[in-house]
Symmetry: C2
Subunit: 211 residues, 2 copies
DNA sequence: CGACACGTTGATTACGCTCAAAGATCGTGG
DNA sequence: CCACGATCTTTGAGCGTAATCAACGTGTCG
């Protein structure tokens, strides 16, 4: 991990976090924080992508979420991180200490509003993720994943490999691969190589995510 | 649904919500709010139990969470409720309009702190729920569910039936029943009737929930 | 160009679902 | 208080989806 000279930090970031913390660079695969580590810092993705993971003693792995540009992560209810955070790609992360800036204290209301917004959005995403895992077939999980990812990114490029998709969706890498092939065969999506894709029937995928 | 005369409201509730809203009583099975309803109110369980559910067009149902005494619910990121809330048992609920009391505004910091606490706790529970659905077997899901419920309630009584457990755990009612039988056969839990139980090996269940 | 990680496809297995029926449990009213 | 009915729960038999085990492509980078 590399610490950038604060003096070099530009002001390219949206309020209200500029200048609040330290910018750090992580290499692909590097830990940003680990499971059971003390949780007293907050993080914001500047560039690149991050995943949070939890590994069970027998090796089963669950990905909690993926984070991209401007997403905040690292928020915990308790004292320690229940998931680890790892750099999915090389990434730049803004790290800062929330301290008394958390809601419920008398602090900068702009920061509190941003934290509140980020937290409720994360809760919302967590609930959608839950829906996907609880009552959807393998084909639906993979299709809805591609849809939500393309909506979030604005383009069709997977930042993660098949194993990460599988561990996010509660499937095996083989099943993910098969479902991607089936989605292609059914004309739902077109792939260019393993990671670039274009959705051909987003409205049908939206129906899968639905009510 | 019944509206209690505010004059009759006692002050039996913890700060900071007392006197803030209206107390309402819902009968078992009654909707507190529905899917796609406008989300501008917050709720707090006074007594009884509540479930949030989402139903897909083909009838598949997912339970988002269960809420018991003093739990807050109804918080949404967007403008509408993505899940419905229903009374699991007859229950009393405190309903109030958060308005400018949300973090990020200049309002009562005690209320903001309580909202923040409730929200991060809900996020935490949502993540645990996610883990359960993603990478756990049917037996593990049912066992860990009994454990977490007993930790939350302080006693071993199920407020919900098998169908609700199934829809929370992403299983069928038959599988839930079979796993309960198996847990009993393995001496993990003892049942008195269909709803009262006692955990005999909580430490083993804790290991199932684990890292 | 070669080596290695990553991804796809095939064959077989197993876990949980579906369909079906019997057994508990609970509320209600005689 | 007991009998009845409705609802909920348990158990059984067979099936289907996704997991596992295995081999073959493909893409990427020194």
């Amino acid at each position: 991990m590399t610490l950038l000279d604060p003096a070099l930090q530009t002001l390219a970031h949206p309020e209200p976090f500029e200048g609040l913390g330290v910018r750090m660079v992580f290499a692909r695969g590097e830990d940003i924080y680990t499971q059971d580590e003390k949780a007293d810092l907050l993080y914001r993705v500047i560039s690149g992508a991050v995943r949070t993971t939890r590994i069970m003693s027998d090796g089963r792995r669950q990905i909690g979420d993926f984070y991209f540009g401007d997403d905040m992560f690292g928020l915990e209810c308790g004292q320690t991180h229940r998931f680890a955070a790892e750099a999915l790609t090389t990434c730049e992360v803004l790290v800062f200490k929330p301290g008394a800036a958390l809601p419920g204290h008398t602090g900068d209301t702009r920061i509190q509003a941003a934290l509140w917004e980020a937290t409720t959005q994360e809760l919302e995403r967590s609930r959608e993720h839950l829906m996907l895992l609880g009552r959807h077939t393998a084909l639906e999980r993979v299709g809805v994943f591609l849809l939500s990812l393309s909506r979030r990114m604005g383009h069709g490029e997977l930042a993660m490999g098949r194993q990460d998709m599988a561990d996010y969706l509660g499937l095996t890498i083989e099943t993910v691969s098969r479902m991607l092939s089936q989605l292609q065969a059914e004309g739902m999506v077109e792939f260019f190589g393993a990671r670039r894709y274009r959705l051909l029937r987003p409205e049908r995928l939206r129906a899968w995510a639905d009510a």
